[in-house]
Symmetry: C3
Subunit: 153 residues, 3 copies
Amino acid sequence: MTVELVGTADRTPRSREFSALYAEVQHFYAQQMRILDGPDAGGWPDTFTEDALFERPPVSAPVRVRAGRTGCVRAGAAREREAGSRLDHWIGMLDVRPQADGSLRTRCSALAYATPGGGGSRVLYVYVMEDVLVPVHGAWRTAHRRVTRDDLA
Amino acid sequence: MTVELVGTADRTPRSREFSALYAEVQHFYAQQMRILDGPDAGGWPDTFTEDALFERPPVSAPVRVRAGRTGCVRAGAAREREAGSRLDHWIGMLDVRPQADGSLRTRCSALAYATPGGGGSRVLYVYVMEDVLVPVHGAWRTAHRRVTRDDLA
Amino acid sequence: MTVELVGTADRTPRSREFSALYAEVQHFYAQQMRILDGPDAGGWPDTFTEDALFERPPVSAPVRVRAGRTGCVRAGAAREREAGSRLDHWIGMLDVRPQADGSLRTRCSALAYATPGGGGSRVLYVYVMEDVLVPVHGAWRTAHRRVTRDDLA
């Protein structure tokens, strides 16, 4: 609201369209990661489609997210939680590429911070996340996720 | 400007509206945190409303931000500054929920990095920040802030 | 798409314009940093203008980016790469100020994470980056970059 736009060429309709999409996707990930890090992460699979696949090469074949969240959570992260640490996932450096079929291909960097009960946060992982997002009843859902460059892989 | 939007359904007016708001809020926080981390953080209370309250349960009752910034700065952060470290606050994973009265309820994750004069940055805190933002003379201001999951609390 | 906007005053055209620009710039940096951290960072100078200058006071006089990327990469970062570590650059806390000549002045915080081959990510740098961006054939390019508060400086 405090912004001054002096002498700047008008953004194109295409740019305005992209902007709306970009904010939607940022907002979607904020919600998905909040659920993942929250006290009840049980709703996390609901941010994926019914048949969503999760890939973490080279560890394993793709797993179905809805078939059980435990299959998707890193063993290391699980150990942190069991040890009483809080996890905070962040995403950033987001790229969004709309596809002809209405889906989106996204790519972002992700961070996970671990914070023990006594304090002393640290970076747990830095990785790259590539998603296919599809609209389901007016909301974005992850249909496919591929996590790479994960040092625990 | 390099974006391709092929075959994507048009964003709704509601989505475009949200996008504009989302960028405004991101921009507001970038400015607020820059002031907080700058050489003269004295202007930081001006990014709050006159009667803004700051809550950090369970440490204390809410404090009035304008009544004195020192009351709102964490003791740990103050110690870092006194020891010659620079602080860098980040926010991310932003959620924005417009309210019927024109205010916004926001929620985000926040990070504070500390960097000693000799180098060697580290994550100092990871916390969650929940704000009520209100428009004041055409600019967003924080009317209420609640910081939680702070390990120094 | 799941957003509710109840009773919020319409964003102004100026706000919508800013939003479009803000998303464009976030997207630009995501691409620029991805190239920088990728397996072939050779394309990184192409995200700058032909005569772009890079400043890192007080180390040296501004260097021309296109004259050789090595001149712009921090010695410390180079050492990390040589030692087998992956680097991940993030930017955040972005400010964008359109100028009368159509260029943009941006300011953001930047982080670099280093991840050794065996795992154990850590924050390598926290710094501030100030750019002048100009449109070149419909895409943003960095015409001038100034990095400050870098502890290796």
